[in-house]
């Protein structure tokens, strides 16, 4: 459904990330248990060949200008270490239980201050666009980070199609709410008032970095990563990049976001990556770039706006980012 004719100028994913090379590397790593104990990090014994990149292949153009050259986080980590609280709070829960969610067919309701509200099938949303690959850093608010090759379309290409009007100051996003398919939504002791809600200021949404992902590692998104369609805003903490989106609303007032409603002193609306503002429970100065080792933890310094300051710092000119965290 997400597969499209390949434009002539697009590279296929196998030209960019030869899967076999990538898998060979993992298999090689799997043998390095002794090295792990010697402090070289903790590779997995799990044979990477047993975990090929899942999903349907997508055609896309590589976007070097929007991509980091840093080493990518291996597919098996990107898809098995997730925060997707609809399926549980353990990092392994989404990979275990996201299969209970059905993503086909999928539709997204667009409403609010715009000229073209309505319910759109996923195909209708993506059809006019060519896919791009953007290799972004992903910085979780919990002080770990990954590097993920996303496939998708710029939000700045998608949103104008709904013709937001002059009262559209913010755009609100909502994740699927279906306790039958999302087991943790059935939890009696969750403080989250489902559905999960997020939002961006309109100029943030229209920034060139804002991305609507439909795939990763060249193929359609695994469910645990927010299939079939999720936001990626790489200069903000990961929880802003809302998954499995079913609603987009343009509105004049600033939306309240899920984490802000639970703990406003810990999670703000902006949630820009900022090493100068600690989370009340931990420092944000550093991050563990995954995969990290036990004896040689892969600490790196966290950068303001996750290193995307050139593209986004102007959005916050004159704002006190310790107040608007």
């Amino acid at each position: 459904m997400l597969i499209k004719k390949r434009p002539s100028w697009a590279l296929s994913h196998s030209e960019i990330t030869p899967e076999s090379v990538y898998l060979d590397r993992r298999r090689f790593m799997g043998g390095l248990v002794a090295a792990a104990l010697a402090g070289a990090g903790v590779p997995r014994l799990v044979d990477a060949a047993a975990l090929p990149v899942q999903g349907e292949s997508l055609d896309y153009a590589a976007m070097p200008g929007f991509s980091t050259e840093e080493e990518k986080t291996p597919y098996e980590d990107v898809t098995r270490y997730n925060n997707f609280y609809e399926f549980g709070t353990d990092k392994g829960d989404p990979a275990k239980y996201a299969d209970e969610m059905s993503v086909d067919p999928w539709s997204v309701t667009v409403e609010g201050e715009c000229g073209k509200p309505g319910t759109y099938g996923l195909e209708d949303l993506v059809r006019p666009h060519d896919y791009q690959e953007r290799i972004y850093r992903l910085r979780c608010v919990e002080a770990w980070s990954m590097v993920v090759p996303w496939i998708g379309i710029p939000l700045a290409d998608l949103l104008p199609r709904f013709e937001p009007n002059s009262r559209a100051k913010y755009v609100y996003f909502e994740t699927l709410y279906d306790p039958d398919q999302m087991r943790a939504q059935r939890s009696l002791f969750s403080t989250i008032d489902w559905p999960y809600q997020e939002g961006l200021r309109m100029d943030e949404a229209m920034n060139e970095l804002s991305f609507m992902a439909v795939g990763l590692y060249g193929k359609t998104l695994p469910k645990q990563n927010g299939a079939p369609m999720r936001l990626v805003v790489p200069w903000k903490y990961g929880f802003k990049s809302i998954k499995s989106i079913v609603k987009i609303r343009f509105q004049e007032e600033r939306p309240k976001t899920t984490w802000e409603m639970i703990a406003p002193q810990e999670y703000g609306f902006y949630a820009n990556v900022n090493p100068e503002v600690d989370h009340p429970r931990w420092s944000q100065k550093r991050e563990r770039r995954l995969p990290s080792g036990l004896l040689s933890p892969n600490w790196i310094e966290t950068r303001k706006f996750n290193g995307y300051g050139d593209q986004v710092a102007h959005l916050y000119k004159g704002m006190d980012l310790t107040k608007y965290y």
Partner: protein
């Protein structure tokens, strides 16, 4: 009762070692996932809490089953709890903090403060667990070891205050801890839960 004590003690010992053995196995086989420091820290903390709870179950179990064998493994369970708590703290310092940011971490973060206070309370308990210390402390030993009640409550707060959104696990552990303390209050009087209070000689 006819349950032989030595095999029972060995069984409890082996069971108590299991979480540690499994962690070592995971480390050796590299199956801890991409963020092993965090995973190890959490696993050790959870084992420490579970062993504290196991220790607190001894008195009720002995009462219900009329078997004094339980009491014979209580010290071992308590020391295992301390062992896991110590490793948990070391793992946190080494793998999560990397020995940096110590001041802010231990003064500003409520859940860390709760955990640290709990650990501080556990130190004198571990230090006075030997037969010789029991003899030396005499009547003071029991009131001292009642520090385990505030300690377990602090550990629970430590656990609760790190919840992101879903507190199901914390509620379950909280109910178990409340039951263990409640049943003591019910049987022995609520004042028996107050630590360091030395009863007047009868």
């Amino acid at each position: 009762m006819a349950i032989p004590l030595l095999p029972f003690r060995i069984l409890v010992f082996v069971l108590s070692c299991m979480p540690f053995a499994l962690l070592v196995l995971d480390i050796v086989t590299g199956s801890l996932g991409p963020d092993p420091g965090q995973t190890v820290t959490e696993a050790l903390g959870l084992s420490a809490l579970q062993l504290m709870i196991a220790t607190l179950f001894i008195t009720p179990l002995a009462r219900w089953t009329h078997w004094s064998g339980w009491i014979k493994v209580r010290r071992m369970l308590g020391l295992f709890a301390f062992f896991y708590a110590s490793l948990h703290l070391m793992a946190f310092l080494q793998f999560i903090l990397g020995w940096g940011d110590l001041w802010a971490t231990f003064t500003k973060r409520p859940y860390i403060i709760f955990g640290s206070l709990a650990f501080l309370l556990l130190i004198p308990l571990a230090a006075t667990s030997t037969k010789a210390m029991m003899r030396r402390l005499g009547r003071q030993w029991k009131p001292l070891h009642r520090l385990v009640y505030p300690a377990v409550a602090l550990v629970w707060l430590h656990f609760l205050f790190q919840a992101r959104s879903d507190i199901t696990e914390m509620v379950v552990y909280g109910l178990v801890v409340a039951f263990l303390l409640g049943v003591r209050g019910y049987w022995f009087g609520w004042r028996s839960l107050v630590p360091l209070r030395i009863p007047k000689r009868a």
